[in-house]
């Protein structure tokens, strides 16, 4: 049965449970004369929750586990002989899945035409043509083992789905009944639904946390794989980045880290002073009306897609810097340069600095300003000597968040700074960053097994560790600063 349909049934069952649960609570209370512990709605809610939530959890778990089981069973049916030379079992398995999907489509179409063909009647000889009719194009010849495997795959999935439907609905009905039976006026339905809600919220946050852990875990595994094939000290300490298709690449991270660092520093040099001045203006000088217009207008900068900034860098800023600065000064002839990317990225992160700092400056208690004015300080003295020092830790946090944003940026760098990995001090030279190289190592015809590809994961993990460090530091500083006024 369709998953969406199962969910719909669950919802209906839950609603039904709510109604009957509520009614039963009221009826029991009326009969025994005992006052209900909770409002009647809570009894209904308890039944509804017991009906829907565990069944739903089972459903989700089943959907996660089933494909793995089916796949491993079917995979055993494919002999090594049909796996093409140099190919992988996983590629054959993806054929199996596609054929199985195609079979479903063929049968559905036949069903519409009124020709009710049983699955057994589909034989190996006509299948390629039939599949092509429904838009599943198969590459070369399909070995009969693969076709059989596809049929088995389909059968297994169907059985699995059927079992899932039965189990899920059974869980819903049984638990719902149990909850219904347990209703009595003394039942603390309110507390039960409270703890249910609590675990629901916990579950939601677990999803986010587990996803993060999963991503990091897979990064770590692939990075480990990479270090099996490429020495770690070369990766971390070599100053040459020169990947080759035919092996023997130099994959030193230093030039990339240097590019990342250089571009980020330039962007911070642009964004921090501007952002801070904006923040001071917005929080201390601008009236509510000005603030209401200026702040959102600046925040728009953060909403512009970075590819648009990249185009701006490529088409406008880069040529401008080359024609007016680099060439007259004899410093370079390239229109992509670290300076181009840094300037444009700086503009992009201005709102990160200004908005966060503005919030932080606003959080400085008015009492401190009053104290300073009361001593005969002017507004700018108050800002410089009382407000900004008080807000400083928070502002540092804001800057670190902006920095981690700059470090992770890709598009602006590709279009603004180019793709040449170089260790150079000249800001008019083209350079590149870690993120850009992650992209370029993974695009094109790649094979997941060579160090040239796996290096992307090592780069990603390094970048992740750096930005995570910055974020943790920033959060720590911001939190410490918050406590100061509490």
């Amino acid at each position: 049965m369709d998953v969406g349909f199962i969910i719909l049934i669950l919802a209906v069952l839950a609603a039904l449970g709510h109604v009957v649960g509520r009614r039963r609570a009221l009826a029991l209370a009326a009969k025994s004369g005992v006052k209900l512990h909770s409002l009647p709605g809570y009894y209904g809610q308890t039944v509804a929750l017991f009906t829907a939530v565990p069944a739903f959890v089972v459903l989700v778990a089943w959907l996660f586990v089933q494909p793995g089981i089916v796949e491993s069973r079917v995979s055993g049916m494919i002999p090594d002989s049909v796996i093409p030379e140099g190919g992988a079992r996983s590629l054959v398995m993806s054929d199996v899945r596609r054929i199985a999907g195609g079979l479903d489509a063929v049968l559905a179409r036949d069903g519409q035409r009124g020709a009710d063909v049983p699955i057994e009647a589909l034989d190996f000889n006509n299948i390629r043509g039939r599949l092509a009719e429904v838009g599943v194009a198969l590459g070369g010849d399909v070995p009969s083992e693969v076709f059989e495997a596809a049929k088995a795959f389909r059968e297994n999935s169907r059985t699995g789905n059927l079992m899932m439907t039965v189990v899920v609905l059974a869980v819903a009905v049984v638990l719902g009944m149990l909850a219904y039976r347990r209703i009595e006026p003394e039942l603390r339905a309110r507390n039960i639904s409270e703890s249910f809600v609590k675990s629901l919220l916990l579950g939601a946050s677990l999803v986010a946390i587990l996803t993060t852990i999963g991503i990091v875990g897979s990064l770590i595994v692939e990075t480990f794989e990479f270090f099996q094939r490429y020495p770690a000290q070369d990766f971390f300490f070599s100053t040459v980045w020169n990947p080759q298709f035919r092996g023997g690449s130099d994959l030193g991270i230093l030039p990339l880290l240097w590019g990342t660092f250089y571009v980020s520093i330039i962007s911070l040099i642009v964004a921090v002073p501007l952002g801070l001045l904006i923040a001071v203006y917005l929080s201390e000088y601008a009236g509510p009306a000005t603030r209401g217009i200026v702040k959102p207008a600046i925040e728009v900068l953060a909403g512009i897609p970075t590819i648009v900034y990249g185009l701006f860098a490529l088409v406008t800023v880069g040529p401008f810097l080359r024609d007016w600065l680099a060439q007259p000064l004899g410093l370079g002839t390239s229109s992509s340069s670290v300076l181009t990317a840094g300037l444009v990225m700086g503009i992009m992160i201005i709102p990160f600095v200004s908005s966060l700092s503005d919030d932080i400056i606003n959080a400085v208690p008015q009492a401190l300003r009053d104290g300073s004015y009361g001593l005969g300080a002017t507004q700018s003295e108050t800002i410089r000597q009382v407000v900004l020092p008080a807000a400083l830790p928070g502002i540092v946090g804001a800057i670190l968040l902006a920095a981690s944003r700059a470090i992770g940026e890709t598009m602006i760098v590709v279009l603004g700074a180019g793709a040449a990995a170089k260790l150079d001090l000249n800001p008019f030279e083209a350079m590149t960053t870690v993120t850009v190289k992650i992209v370029s190592q993974l695009t094109g015809d790649t094979e997941f097994g060579s160090p040239e590809t796996l290096v992307a994961f090592a780069l990603g993990l390094t970048l992740f560790v750096i930005t995570l460090g910055l974020n943790v530091l920033a959060l720590y500083i911001v939190r410490k600063y918050r406590e100061q006024y509490e």
Binding site: G371, Y373, E381, V386, A390, Q484
Partner: protein
């Protein structure tokens, strides 16, 4: 140390008022917050080197009127003040008067202690620094220590001047704020419910301090505590709904007030 104070006093020359001349006199003062008429035609004379208490039910305008005396209301966007307030016969709402300079002369202590997130030393040195009262580090040290002594805090903090002012107890923080105000050698000190966030022992210390400060400063204090008004002040002014209903010697005010509303308020019949 005293000569520091006196030299700084001569740098901002003011007419020394005779004892019978009022230090502060307000004539027909009206204050509006937008449309709201918060202070209605208040006239009052405040004597030099004495403590005047403002009492009255919540929202009657005590803080508002107090903030007129050092023009702190200028920092509130929709607040408008009319009428005339003079200190030493000089109208402080005259366009020639710089409110920033005025506030150096009329210090303020707030309801909640609000030390800056800086060291104890820096808290006290803040005012003298911005007004350039000290030419040398040693002069600044003298100003800081004498202000802390006047605020009765010196003994408790002299060994930890570098630790943060926010780390002191509430009562110590409030005395630090008083020291901070005293350090710029003002002539008038305005206090808006300075003890309302303090426990009885800290309150007693601050009251004692007010008693001593009276020798050198003109003090105006807003308070909700009748006992406190009776203990620290010589004159008391009663506000009600933006009006000044009575201003009298404290002793008379608490034994035999002229106005029925004062009597009701003191007896706890409203507010």
């Amino acid at each position: 140390m005293m000569n520091n104070i006196s030299t700084t006093m001569t740098t901002t020359p003011t007419k020394a008022p005779a004892m019978n001349e009022p230090k502060i006199s307000a004539r027909n003062v009206q204050v509006y917050y937008g449309e709201k008429h918060a202070i209605k035609d208040v006239n009052i004379d405040i004597r030099p080197r004495s403590v005047t208490a403002f009492i009255g039910p919540s929202g009657c305008g005590k803080s508002t009127f107090l903030r007129c005396i050092n023009r702190m209301n200028d920092t509130i966007a929709n607040c408008r003040v009319e009428g005339n307030i003079s200190i030493d016969s000089e109208n402080i709402y005259d366009p020639k008067v710089d409110p920033v300079q005025l506030r150096a002369k009329v210090g303020m202590v707030f309801q909640k202690p609000n030390p800056f997130p800086k060291s104890i030393y820096e808290n006290v040195a803040y005012g003298p620094r911005i007004h350039g009262l000290a030419r040398k580090k040693s002069e600044l040290d003298d100003i800081v220590s004498s202000a802390l002594q006047k605020a009765g805090l010196w003994g408790e903090v002299k060994d930890r001047l570098d630790s943060p002012g926010t780390g002191l107890s509430g009562g110590q923080q409030q005395r630090l704020c008083i020291a901070r105000a005293v350090a710029v050698s003002p002539e008038v000190i305005l206090m808006d419910e300075p003890c309302s966030a303090l426990d009885p022992i800290a309150t007693a210390k601050v009251e004692e301090l007010i008693h001593e400060l009276r020798e050198n400063f003109t003090i105006v204090i807003v308070t909700h505590s009748m006992q406190q008004a009776a203990r620290v002040s010589q004159r008391t002014a009663m506000f009600h709904l933006g009006n000044l209903v009575e201003e009298n010697d404290t002793d008379k005010m608490f034994t035999n007030p002229d106005d029925q509303r004062t009597q009701d308020y003191i007896m706890g019949r409203f507010g």
